[in-house]
Amino acid sequence: MAAYSTNEFKSGLKVMMDGDPCSIVENEFVKPGKGQAFNRVKLRNLKTGRVIDRTFKSGETLEAADVLETQLQYLYSDGEFWHFMSPETFEQYSADGAAVGDAAKWLKEQDICTVTLWNGVPLSVAPPNFVTLKVTETDPGLRGDTSSGGNKPATLETGAVVRVPLFIDVGEVLKIDTRTGEYVERAKE
């Protein structure tokens, strides 16, 4: 496996740290007057998402992490695993709950997700920035109320609950921003 020296550290580089794959967020060279030089590095643990600070002697190396970001189509969930397929190679991958995390509530069959693979196994799943989902449950819509600014909870076909305007009815299809979990607009079918 390749290794990177501190001189090669830059943001986005994927390395192994304490047995976990990490992405370098920031790298700063520091040196006392005539003493040992160091690199102060911020690393994001790609399994937990936590950012840690570590300082290395300049010239030390870290093993490269075999991490790959790829676009995969979501197929289905069997309750334990979420199954994905590469639209190019048709190769299938199964992600566990830890990898899917919060993305689970936005996953709709056929949608293309960004899946980070580590040694060929899904490490994390990011849903599309925007998804269109059908409302399965909400209080009856108030006709004509398109501007009062009030809102109410609605349950979507994937189980996610979002705040929607009062005029939305069961059966409508909505565009949602998955990064904020917010309603954007009614989707045209």
């Binding site: 040196k31 007057g33 005539k34 003493g35 040992q36 300049s58």
Partner: protein, 331 residues
């Protein structure tokens, strides 16, 4: 935009270029008013600084005087040549020198930079700290600086008696602050832990709003400074050296200069042994400096101050490239 279309441009803006010109003029006026002579010494030398963590850039000369060709070192500081002038009776001198350090590049480092170095015969490190304080107040408008011994700095910021603490305690402290320790053992691991704690933990907190003068370093960090043997007042040897910090940035490094040629030779040889043990390239000793010391260096103190960092403080710059016309990635 294509890379060549932006890479030719300077990274410093007009305001920074003007500030640099003004600063250099102010520095020259400061020393002219005090009767300190401006000197120039060669950038090239046949022998480099020996400190194990200073890495020289080298070049090659071939021609008259040296038909076989010769490796020459670009200076990491003008210290050796300036001490030869002092030994020859120059009196107080200063220099605005271009210096070069291999392997140093970052937010506050560029491999080529401007160092202001000055020497004061008859001064010890205390008297020189006073002059640096006045220099900073005139050039940066800073209030009078605080004085903090190296031991006090560790006591205050890390609550540890740095001279009494065991290797294990210091290494543990470094790890607790995020240092990913190496394979070194004993004295070397201790020194690396001290370097880390100073550079990464203490330094960023020093000199907020006014200069902080840290003095009396461990004898292991004496470099070319005098070492004071243990006494009734202090049970360990201390280097008569100081560093100046301002807004969490190291700005200057000063010594009450070692003038004993035999001791200087021993330290150089210890540096070379250390380099050899670390697998670094062997370098020649500066016999010309040692000969000058043997002839007699006047009792003096000297300090080296980073001009680019001074400019960063003056302009509030966060990255050294804001004050350099062309940093290393644009040459």
């Amino acid at each position: 935009m294509a890379e060549a279309e932006t890479r030719w441009r300077p990274t410093a803006n007009r305001r920074a270029l003007e500030a640099r010109a003004r600063l250099l003029a102010d520095i020259r006026r400061f020393f002219a008013e005090r009767g300190v002579l401006e000197v120039e010494t060669p950038i090239l030398a046949t022998a480099p600084a020996t400190a194990p963590h200073l890495h020289s850039l080298t070049t090659h000369y071939q021609g008259p005087q040296n038909p076989e060709g010769q490796r020459l070192f670009l200076q990491t500081s003008p210290e050796h040549a300036m001490k030869r002038l002092l030994a020859a009776g120059s009196g107080p001198i200063y220099q605005l020198a271009r210096v070069f350090r291999n392997g140093e590049s970052g937010r506050r480092h560029n491999p080529e930079f401007t160092l202001l170095e000055w020497y004061r015969p008859g001064f010890d490190h205390w008297a020189l700290m006073e002059e640096v304080d006045i220099f900073l107040s005139l050039l940066l408008g800073t209030p009078k600086g605080e004085r903090l011994s190296y031991g006090e700095a560790f006591q205050h910021y890390l609550e540890v008696d740095v001279f009494a603490a065991s290797h294990k305690v210091l290494e543990g402290l470094a790890r607790a602050h995020g240092f990913q320790g190496g394979t070194e053992k004993g004295e070397e691991a201790r020194q690396i832990a001290l370097d880390f704690l100073m550079a990464a933990v203490i330094e960023p907190q020093l000199g907020q709003g006014r200069p902080c003068f840290v003095y009396d370093y461990p004898a292991s960090e004496a470099q070319l400074a005098r070492v004071r043997p243990p006494s009734k007042a202090c049970s360990v040897s201390l280097a008569e050296r100081f560093e100046v910090y301002l807004n969490g940035m190291e700005l200057a490094n000063g010594y009450h200069e070692l003038s004993d040629a035999a001791e200087q030779r021993q330290r150089f040889q210890a540096d070379l042994a250390h380099r050899k043990a670390r697998g670094l390239e062997e370098v020649p000793l500066d016999e010309l400096l040692l000969a000058a010391l043997a002839q007699g260096l006047p009792d003096c103190a000297g300090v080296a101050l980073g001009v680019d960092r001074l400019l960063m403080l003056l302009l509030g710059s966060l990255h050294i490239e804001e004050v350099l016309a062309f940093p290393v990635d644009r040459i």
